[in-house]
Each structure stands twice: as structure tokens, then as C-alpha cells.
Amino acid sequence: MTRRSDRERLRRQQATVLEWESVPPPLDLYQEEAQEDRIVLNLGPYHPTMHGVLHNIVTLEGEKIVDVEPHIGYLHRAFEKLGEVYSYNQFLNCTDRMNYVSAPMNNIGWLVAVEAMMGLEVPKRAQYVRTIIVELSRIMDHLVSMGILGVDLGAFTGFLWFFEEREKLYQIIEKQTGARLTTTFGRIGGLRCDVPKDFVDDVRNFVRTFPGIFKDFDDVLTRNRIFMDRTQGVGVIDAEKALSYGFTGPNLRATGVGYDVRKSRPYMCYEEFEFDIPVGDRGDCWDRYTVRLREMLQSLRIVDQAVENIPEGPYRIEDPKVSLPEKKDVYTKMESMIHHFKLIMHGVRPPAGEFFFSTEAANGELGFFIVSDGGMNPYRVHVRRPCFYCYSAIRELLVGGTISDAVATVSSLNIIAGELDC
């Protein structure tokens, strides 16, 4: 306050001088004053609109952002280092904690990478169940991120409707994996166990009821005048820039580039399903929002096709070098016990060499770079996190906008701190 009053006094003095001498004041005095009017604001590390532990030091001129300095790493848990002492199946636990909003997608990303490295052909039934769970978690991720976008901009109702739907999905996943958040879904070579009896009914039920809730949410938020004003033309990035910053996933598709790993390099059994890739055209917050909304319906299409055609058969590879034998065999058969012991103690061993494999996670291309020396632990693991690259363009997106735009932009990018820092 003293600074403000000093400035007032200076201005008054200046005014009197001006009246008196009627000469223009030196220009640099004004510039200095403009500099002085800048406010440095800490958005984060703990800020309700920053979605996790993100730290942005924002320089403001009035309400306009003139500079942003992002600081990350508050949630860095050294998973890449841990990966070097964990076995391939153990590292699955670390992947849960990367994008914790849609953990099964990271699990499958890791499993598919290791299986591709080992050249394993996973049974069809496991592929279909994985596809269903992965697409349900894509819906789950978009439910949260778009619900929260509404909350950040003042619309609470739709968020609660979506959370009710998310709860149904959590129950489906809980029945399958035993956990809600850190799912550790699947194992190398298939699934941990077969799906529960009511899995198909639960999924069918969700596929039937979800479009109604979706329509309600769409009606209440998408064409809401306030919501449109807050998101259209805000946080714009064009396709050229987005590509050069390494954007992938819905954030890239919002700029009009129809790149999706599921179509470009189909993994699992995506080539068997019919679905479209929704794209936007302007690359603003509203486009990122609508692309995600439309993606949910496409995911629902895939789930619908998959759940109606789940084939019978084994849910994992019947190879004792990859998947654990049945528990009852372990207790009664010598051979199974040896396999069990070998697999627990010496692990799954991919061949020596290096391998990069990426899948389409909720936020974009999630890649695992694995260097193996033929042992039970990866020699080196590196995770290509989609958030990391989207967030590196934050300066590009925020500078020139207002502080309220920053909230909408960060929210629409759907930055997950756990994935960002890894």
C-alpha cells in the first residue's frame, strides 16, 4: 500500500509540475510506472484450478498475462529409475500412478509394449476385454476432464452428473481388478483372471444408459452462452505449432489434424472395430472440449461392438514362461510349481535390444521406450508422456490472454500432474 501511495504522490507532484511548466514528462517515467504496475502471481503449486501440483509464475499487467514461467517436477516419483529394479510385471504398478484418472490405459500401454517386444500373440478374448476396459477408461478420463472444465468455469451440475457415470465405470473396473484407482489391470500375456459373470451385463447397461446422461450434459453446457464465451477463441494453437510442440491426442485433433494411433498403427484389435476420429478446426478450448465429448461417443461405439462380440476362449497365453499356472496346479503338480517359482523369481524376460511402442491414451500418444539386456528387469525404461509435450507449450497458449483464460486453457488441456512428472 505504501508503494501505491508513493506513486499517487509522485503523480500529484508530476501533475503540479506539468501545470506549472507545461512540458511533457519524460517517457521513461511512464514505462517505469508500467513495469511497476506488473503483478507477479503464483498460480500453484497448490491451486484448485491447477489440477494437481503445477506451478505457474504468471506476470500480469492488469488482468492480461504478459509472461508465464512454468515449473514442474513436484510429483516426480522417479518411475524410470524404479523401472530399472522392478521386473516387467512389477512395473505395471508404477504405470497406474502416471495418469491416475485413467489408469487402465497406462497399464495396457505398458503391457502391449512388452508383449510387442516379446512377439507374443495375446488371445482374442483378452484383447476384447482389454479394448472394452480401455475405451471405458477413455470415457472415464474425458468425463472427469470435461466435467472439471465446467467446474472451473462455474458450471457444477454437469460435473455431478458425469461423476455418477464415472462411479458406474469404477464399479465395472473394481469388479474386474479389485481396485478403483490403481487398477494394475492385466498381466503380460493376457489378463490376471477372467471377467466376472455380470461383466457383459454391466457394460451393456452402461452403453444403454450413458447416451441419456451425455445428452443432458451436452444440453446444459455445450451451447451455454457463458461457457462458449469463456472457451471459444481462448487458448488457441494452430496445427503447425501444435505439431512442432509434439501435441498428440485430443489436443492435436482439436487443431484439425486427424492423427490417432488406433487408426495409424492399429494395436490390440482396433482394426476390427468401426469408429471415427473426431477433429476440431480452430484449436481453442471449445474445440478441445467438443473433440473430447465426441470421442466419448466413439469409444462407446467401440465398447458396444466389442461387448457384443466377446469371443470365448482363454483369457491369457497358456505359456508357462509368460503367465502363471493355475493355483490348484501349483499345489498339486510338480511342473506347475517349478514354473510358478521360475516366473516369480526370474520374471518374464524379453529379448535383449531396444523397443519403442506407443498407444493412444486419453491425452495422446503414450510411448514406452524399453532397453532390455535380456534380464528380468528392464535395463532402461523411458515413458513418453503426452501431457509433458502439451504442457511445454503453456507459454504459447497463455501469454496474451487474461488470468481467467488461463484457468480454462489449463483445464481444457487436461494436464495430469502424475503423468507430467512421471
Partner: protein
């Protein structure tokens, strides 16, 4: 068909960089170009400007590997690995350069802004700095942190790590018990 674009890319890179391209091999999932670290700028230029007909417009990832404890021998201790992507066709390519600890390859930030944070991460984790980078500081670890955690000689845990952290406090004498550390 698959061979053609891979050969076209390696030919285009070879004609631009000459000896910069050491070897072009086909990995199990994508082609791999092994290059001299200093030639990465030219290689990236060729890849991005579609001199070979494939336009690698996305720098997907940069990382590094420390081969210190790898069973097979390698030309140098470290390798920096770049992954590029062509979003039109979905094709990927890996570029790899071996280098010793002190070398610093050129930064790709001017070509691909995506390289900015990715190179900072490599610098943070492996201690490989990139020349010409606008802001070569740590990104994940605290700014005043010492050591590069992803290097193979960096211990994961245990008294060795504690000694490294508290080495100065202990006056560089060996740590005998955890209690000693606790009393500091």
C-alpha cells in the same frame, strides 16, 4: 513397399550429412539411424522437410541411455535417442547417437519447440547438455540438486546414496550405521 521409404529416408540423410550417418539398420518396430551426435541438426532438417517423401513433423521424444552396466560393449558410454513421427502415415523413426559424458549435441529447439523440455529432461536425468539450448536448467529435480539420477552409477537407495547426500556433513568418512545419519 516397407523397405522403400526406409531406404529413401536413409539415402536422403546420407546425401545431406555424408559421414554423419554411421549406419542405417531396421529395428524390430521402426528403422533406426545411428549418427554422429554433431549431425543431428542436419538429420532433423532432412526428416522434417520431407527430403525423402516422409514428413516427420513431430518430434515424439528425446531420451538417453547410459550403457555403463550393459553386458555388451558399446562405442561410447551414453546414447541420445530421438524419436520422430509422421502424423500423416503414422510412420516412426529412431535416431541414435553415441557420445561420451562430456559431449554436448546441438539442441533441436529451433526446429522443434518440443525439444525444449525434452532436452532439459535429458540434461536433468543424464547430465548431457545440449549446445544452443535457450534455457538449459533442470526440469524435474530441484534446481539446486546435485547428481544425475538416471545415470547407472547413481545409487537407487541405501547407505551409498545416503553417503552421497550427506558426504559433506560426515566429512567424507564411511557411514557405519543409520543411527549416525539420524543424529546429524
Amino acid at each position: 513397399m516397407k523397405e522403400t521409404w526406409q531406404e529413401a529416408v536413409s539415402d536422403a540423410v546420407r546425401s545431406r550429412t555424408g559421414d554423419g550417418l554411421i549406419e542405417a539398420v531396421s529395428g524390430p518396430e521402426m528403422p533406426v539411424l545411428i549418427i554422429e551426435a554433431g549431425a543431428i541438426m542436419d538429420v532433423a532438417q532432412v526428416l522434417r522437410d520431407a527430403a525423402s517423401g516422409v514428413e516427420f513433423r513431430v518430434l515424439l521424444d528425446i531420451t538417453a541411455v547410459d550403457y555403463l552396466k550393459y553386458p555388451d560393449s558399446h562405442p561410447q558410454r551414453f546414447a541420445v535417442v530421438w524419436h520422430f513421427l509422421d502424423p500423416e502415415s503414422g510412420r516412426q523413426i529412431r535416431v541414435k547417437a553415441f557420445l561420451s559424458g562430456g559431449e554436448s549435441p546441438p539442441s533441436l529447439t529451433s526446429l522443434y519447440p518440443a525439444a525444449n523440455w525434452a532436452e532439459r529432461e535429458v540434461f536433468d536425468m543424464m547430465g548431457i547438455s545440449f549446445s544452443g539450448h535457450p534455457n538449459m536448467v533442470r526440469i524435474l529435480m530441484p534446481y539446486d540438486y546435485e547428481g544425475n539420477p538416471q545415470r547407472k552409477d547413481f545409487p537407487l537407495e541405501g547407505p551409498e546414496r545416503a553417503k552421497q547426500i550427506h558426504g559433506e556433513l560426515l566429512g567424507n568418512k564411511a557411514l557405519t550405521s543409520w543411527k549416525e545419519l539420524h543424529d546429524l
